[in-house]
Symmetry: C2
DNA sequence: CAAAAAACTTAGGCCAAACTAAATTAGCGC
DNA sequence: GCGCTAATTTAGTTTGGCCTAAGTTTTTTG
């Protein structure tokens, strides 16, 4: 509850920590020190140290040895970074010839450098999009974000058809592969077969059959047009 | 001559120092500690410290108590930052609705964050412009820059006409005033009178007469269509 | 040309943010 | 419920980049 009324500018590092914690919190659980460390590629002691500082600033709630949760203030900052990141990705793809596999790193640096004015100008130029090129929802200016619940392609039963809506990876190689395979948001896919023991799926997309690994299929988030 | 072969990434601070020194060197003289300190709004001891580090890295040549000069390597970095800054300004004005009085600060932050790829994409979108919105020349990819010699409006004799080509300030208030007065690059101005003792000038621009302070007139860089 | 002023550097300190090594706590198997 | 392991925190160090105070060197000026 230690309010952080003195609006000191947050550092790049702080913004990255808060964004990482926001992402890890998604699962409902508090974010653990080691998960944060792994995501940010830092040592656990470095994370412990930062957690102490951020708690003191009232940006997160820390239960020692248990993990951290964002406070309202911390969440506000995190969502602001998510909005920035996704809008920048959308802008780079929409106006500067970037492809979805190359935008992540660029956005990762720019999100810390752009002003609020520039972000809103980009949003305007794009027509206030609700999703980025990977199908990730873009929070609005007030931080509202509709996290739709999708079904991973891996869980679509054989015989059913689903539409890819979101791709949950930022690895360039995977994204290039998916693009090349025609598995991008908006595409309809029919699952024809599941191999057992978490094996690959056989699917039909764009009129032709292909086989896709289970792990990748878990990152393809879909809606089933008929279900619900 | 201490080559900096190990291409460690340069920090934001280092990039700012090199750019500042490049600008100060423009006058032919070495850049002094205090001039650098003033330009970057830092204390002189901080600058002394950084000068030592940058000299050790081979980015500049330091003669104690005399000043610093960029090495070829230092100049390369500085010009790269200038190219980035000016292209970003041009892009923001050209594509995102910025005006020439608001672009400086935004570019100042972005120039450290954008990749070479993004810069070249912006340059392409703009058609590889040679000048930014203030008329400052944009170095090309190889660092070549044509620093044209202009005559300040303040030095144009009464009765003569000149064309504004470049505006040498980044202060938003001054830029807004100039815009409002119709004194922007490309505009022809006739000087009708000089007040003595470094006083104001009377000029005609866009068909109407106005008075402009000496100091501002020194920042309006012109060519005389007839002279030379 | 000597003394005062200005400019510059050195000395020493601070803070953010990272690290390694060592100590502590939590969770689990038996 | 004891003790092992894994997770976490504490302790202590490093680096970059800034600061103030104090000492040097250069420049200016009476």
């Amino acid at each position: 509850m230690t309010a952080q009324l003195t609006r000191e500018p947050l550092t790049r590092s702080v913004e990255d920590y808060l964004k990482a914690i926001y992402r890890l919190e998604g699962a409902g659980q508090p974010a653990s020190t080691s998960d944060i460390a792994e995501l940010l590629e830092l040592s656990p002691p470095s994370v412990s140290g930062m957690i102490r500082r951020l708690s003191e600033q009232g940006l997160l709630e820390h239960v020692p040895y248990r993990g951290v949760l964002l406070t309202a203030g911390g969440r506000r900052v995190a969502i602001r970074m998510v909005r920035r990141h996704r809008l920048i990705e959308a802008y780079l793809v929409g106006f500067l010839g970037y492809t979805w596999d190359t935008v992540h790193d660029e956005a990762e640096r720019l999100e810390h450098a752009v002003s609020d004015v520039l972000i809103e100008r980009m949003a305007l130029a794009l027509g206030n999009p609700r999703f980025d090129p990977h199908g990730d929802p873009i929070p609005d200016r007030d931080g509202a974000i509709d996290e739709l619940v999708y079904t991973p392609l891996a869980e679509i039963p054989a015989g059913e058809t689903a539409e890819i809506r979101r791709v949950d990876t930022s690895q360039p190689e995977r994204l290039r592969y998916l693009e090349h395979s025609g598995l991008t948001p908006g595409i309809r896919v029919t699952v024809t077969q599941h191999q057992p023991f978490r094996g690959p799926l056989t699917i039909v997309a764009g009129g032709h059959e292909q086989v896709i690994g289970r792990e990748l299929a878990e990152q393809l988030l879909c809606v089933r047009p008929d279900a619900k």
